[in-house]
Every structure is written in C-alpha cells, then in structure tokens.
Amino acid sequence: MKRIEANHVSAWYGGFKAVDDVTLAIEPKQVTALIGPSGCGKSTFIRTLNRMHEVIPGARIEGEVLLDGEDIYASGIDPVSVRRTIGMVFQRPNPFPTMSIRDNVSAGLRLNGMRKKAELEPVVEKALQGAGLWKEVRDRLDKPGASLSGGQQQRLCIARAIAVEPQVLLMDEPCSALDPVSTLRIEDLIAELKDMYTIVIVTHNMQQAARVSDSTAFFTLEVSGDPGRLVEVGPTSKIFTKPGDERTEAYITGRFG
C-alpha cells in the first residue's frame, strides 16, 4: 500500500503559476480530501500526483512527488507506468463512446496488451462489483457505455480505473456533475474502496469531505490570479472542529468561498 509525499510542489500553466510550494503527505489506506475555493490549485495539485498535469501543453512542475520514497518525476521514470500505479477519476464521467460497457471496463488492460477473453471476463466482473455497478449492468454488458445514466457512467469510470489494479486512486470532484442520490452511492463506494486503495479526493463540497475523508487538506489563494497554497492539513475531525488557521475556519463556516 503506497504512501505519497509531495515535497515543495509548484505547478505552472505556461507563465501562470497555479500551485505554490505545497508539501503534503498522503497516508495509505485512507481518504485524503483536498478542499478550498475555486482556483485554489487543488485540482492542479491532484493532477501532479500521477503526472497528468504535464499532459496539458505548456504545463510544468517543480518539486518532487515521492511514491513510497521514489520520485515519480525523476529522470528515467515512465509517466505511463506511474499512471498505471496511480489511477484517476475525473469530474465529468468520460466513458469511451465507441466502446461497450464491458470494453470500457477492460480498456486499460486490453490497450496494454491483455487480449484473452477468458482472463478479461473475471476482471470486468470484479471491477464492476467493486464499483457497485455489476447488478445494474450485468445483463447489458454489450450496450454502449454512454447509454448509462450520469451516476452509472461515473461508477463505470471508477470500475475502469480500478480494473487496472492501481495502488492509489485520485478523484477530481467525482460527484460534482451528479445528483444527490448518485453522489451518495459514490460516497458509499469510496468508503468501501479505502480498504484497498489510497484515495485522494478533490471536492467543493465540505459536507462530502467531512463524510468521506480521514484527513483533509485546505488550499486557498489570496486574490484571483495568485497561485494556490496549502493552508493546513490534518485529521478531518480536527480540521472541521478546531482548525488551526483562521482562513480555514472562515472557509468551513461559510464566511467566504
């Protein structure tokens, strides 16, 4: 089970600095929530944890991200293998439109060379069960992934992410495009998944952070256009009851943001 340590991570989009000097440890088998107002750099930061940030043209980072002590930004590290170890679920459900439900789940394995149907079949079932979607889709695995509802599509994306058996699961506002019922199902799912994965979740919703996470990191920015900074991190119960910083208190009590 993997522990992630981010040391002095700063991130840029071209000339714009989005994240400034964040140092944060993410403990294994826990849910770590990143909260903060819009533009505070939490989504950018989570994308630096599996080298998804550099996919955007002109984006770069400084600092180091240690996965069990190994810097994923060291030279000679293949970003593709980093992403196989650290999976990601995005804000908007993004199933592959040309693939069936079954093929969506097995995409990560199939496109990395695993072709045998007999080996893929149990993986698909296990991943869909893991994502709490198996009962709803087992009769229509050959239907397109886009035929599902928004909440089901997001659970399909979670199934797709866990099918490659990553060590860490990053979730970038996984519920912000979903209705409350679907949100609740995803939250229950997160609680189940944390026994097996280290989970980092970005959320706008403070109640959600309080419900699902073990520790919480609060990010903010001074004024629009400034880079986002980490204000404090600690056990969720402490952050939400006795925050150490008045900006955190102002945010969680709803006085700004």
Binding site: M52, P57, R83, N94, T98, G108
Partner: protein, 345 residues
C-alpha cells in the same frame, strides 16, 4: 380570427392558416390576371412575379393581425424555404434529368460489355471497361491518400507545434487550390514522360490522390480535434501510452467524421476528367491491369461519348453519367453503414 388588437399584453394575434392560404392564392390570382390582361408573358416571369406577389400578400395579411416580430419571422421563414427549395431544385433536376436520359441505354448489356470495336453510330457497347477503370483508379487513389492523409492529420492535431506544423498546414491549404488539370500535368510530366512509365490507371490514381490528400488531411484534422480532451485524459490515466490512446480511443471516436471526409474526397475525384486525360488516357477495350497501359474510366467514357454527334453515343454518355452518380452514391452509403456504430454521443 379577430383582427383587433388583443387585450392581454402577453397574447398577440395569430394568423389563421386559411387566411395565409387565401392571401397566397390572391397573389397568384392577381398575377394570372395581370399576365392575361397586360403584355406580360413568359413561364419563368410568371413564376417569379407570382412568387413575389404571393409572398407580399402573405406578409401583408400577417402584418394586419400580428406584431412586427412575427412578420419578420415569417419573412425570413419564406426566404429560408426559398433558399432550400432552390438548392434542392438544382440537385433534384440534375438527378432527375440524368436519370431520365440515362435509363435509355442503361441495361445489363451496358454493364457487361466494353466499347471494343463499337462505332459512334452503333447501338451497342457498354461501360464495363470504364467502371472497372474508375473503381481501380479511385481505390488506388484512396489507398495512397487515406493512410498518408490520416498520418498528416494525426501529426497536425496531436503532435504538430511550431513552425513545421504551420508550414505543413499552409502547404495542405495550398494543395486544396491546385486545379485538377495541374495535378494531371504534373503526373504526366513526372511519371508518364519523365520516368517513361507511359499511361496507366496507376498514373491516374496518383494524380487523383494529389487532389484527395488535402481534403482528407483537413477534414480528418478537424474531426480528430473534435474528440474531447477528456477522453484522451481518461486513456492516459489508465496508463495507456499516447500512441495507443490515439489509435484505439481518438481515431475510433472520430471515425464517423473521418469517413465522411474521405467519402467527400472520393466523391470529388470520382468525377474528375481532366487529370485522367493525361494519365489514364482512355481505352476502348477491357483492361484490368491498372499498372500498365492506358485504361478507361467513367468520366472519360462520358467525355468521349458525349463528344460524338450521334444519338447512340449520346445515350451511352447519359447512361455513363448515371452510372457515375450511382457509384458515388453506393460508396457513400456503404461507408455510412460501416461507421454508423461509432457515432460521437
């Protein structure tokens, strides 16, 4: 239907359908009377004046019951329907006229025989050799231009940055404007004469692929760019390498659009005549080998038959033109069926 101003501010008058029909009928009637009583005459003139008078009467009646906004709405609806009608009329008349003239010489004999030994006045002969030629030449041109065009499109949309990419893009844009005869002349000078390879279906295919390439590149590039970045990110986040994500996620998602672009290019070059004159040259007998010796094609067949003064040859030209339209239509429908599954949702 009352013509009074309505009491409610939310409610406005509405023109009854029968008033509209009556207004248009009145306009047409006035025109008929005018053409009867005055020196006005001519079928086309009558249609134009009747159209204008009918539209004017329709809008005038509408203006009595309805507000300014809905009258303007009706005016633009008339203009749009007219524009669509003109476009469909042009397309429809080409199809109907070609079909009407073309069916005369169109029979099984036409599809199974060549023009070998058939004179312009003979009521015999067919386009078999030309159909073979067109299919082979267009297939070869597609085989040359689609793989290379797709690779360029992938480079431009996924990898191309900086000066090389903008240079490639400019060259492709310039290529769109190359007159087809110039493409033919180039192959004629370079391949047929320069390398001494002589006329052949393959030379024609090369000339056609010069014309197809820029269309394939630009349409495929646009289609690939339409694939949402979120799908690429989803693939990367699964640890799928970039080239595989392009091959297995991006291209399938864009395939319906890419096919449409390829079919446009195919349709465009299937009817090309000028470059074929200098490359395939044309031939009266069946010649299946596209790599050596002159070959016929449907546009060349139509061209040579239509140049004749004799009725039998002209009938064959129309039948050839109809066959050409049918070939393009069949290819398009087939391509649509193949890619229907992969629609962007």
């Amino acid at each position: 239907m009352s013509t009074r101003a309505p009491a409610s501010t939310l409610r406005s008058g509405r023109l009854a359908a029968r008033s509209a029909v009556a207004a248009v009928a009145a306009g047409v009637a006035v025109t008929t009377v005018a053409f009867w009583l005055t020196p006005l005459q001519g079928r086309a003139d009558f249609l134009l004046v009747a159209y204008l008078a009918g539209t004017a009467a329709y809008l005038a009646v509408a203006a009595r019951t309805e507000g300014r906004r809905s009258v303007v709405d009706r005016l633009f609806a008339v203009l749009m329907v007219t524009a669509v009608g003109i476009c469909l009329l042009a397309l429809g008349s080409v199809l109907v006229y070609t079909a009407a003239r073309g069916v005369k010489a169109l029979d099984w004999y036409f599809f199974t025989h060549s023009m070998n030994g058939v004179g312009p006045r003979d009521d015999a002969g067919g386009a078999y050799h030309s159909i073979i030629g067109t299919l082979e030449q267009v297939l070869l041109a597609t085989l040359i231009s689609v793989p290379s065009g797709l690779l360029v499109a992938i480079y431009l949309s996924e990898y191309g940055r900086g000066r090389l990419a903008s240079l490639v893009r400019t060259v492709v844009d310039v290529m769109v404007g190359i007159p087809s005869i110039v493409a033919g002349l180039f192959i004629y000078a370079f391949w047929v004469l320069g390398l001494g390879r002589g006329f052949s279906g393959f030379a024609a295919a090369m000339a056609l692929s010069i014309l197809m390439l820029p269309i394939v590149v630009r349409s495929s590039e646009e289609m690939i760019k339409l694939v949402p970045a979120s799908l690429r990110e989803a693939a990367y986040a699964l640890g799928i390498p970039r080239w595989r994500a392009i091959l297995k996620v991006v291209l399938p998602t864009a395939s319906a659009g890419i096919t449409t672009g390829v079919m446009l290019a195919v349709a465009r070059v299937t009817g090309e005549t000028a470059p074929l004159l200098l490359t395939a040259f044309g031939f009266d007998s069946i010649h299946n080998d596209p790599f050596s010796g002159p070959q016929s094609s449907l546009p060349l067949f139509v061209f040579s038959q239509a140049s004749s003064a004799f009725g039998a040859a002209v009938d064959r030209a129309w039948a050839g033109a109809l066959t050409l339209i049918a070939v393009v239509l069949l290819l398009t429908v087939a391509a649509r069926l193949v890619t229907r599954r992969n629609r962007l949702v």
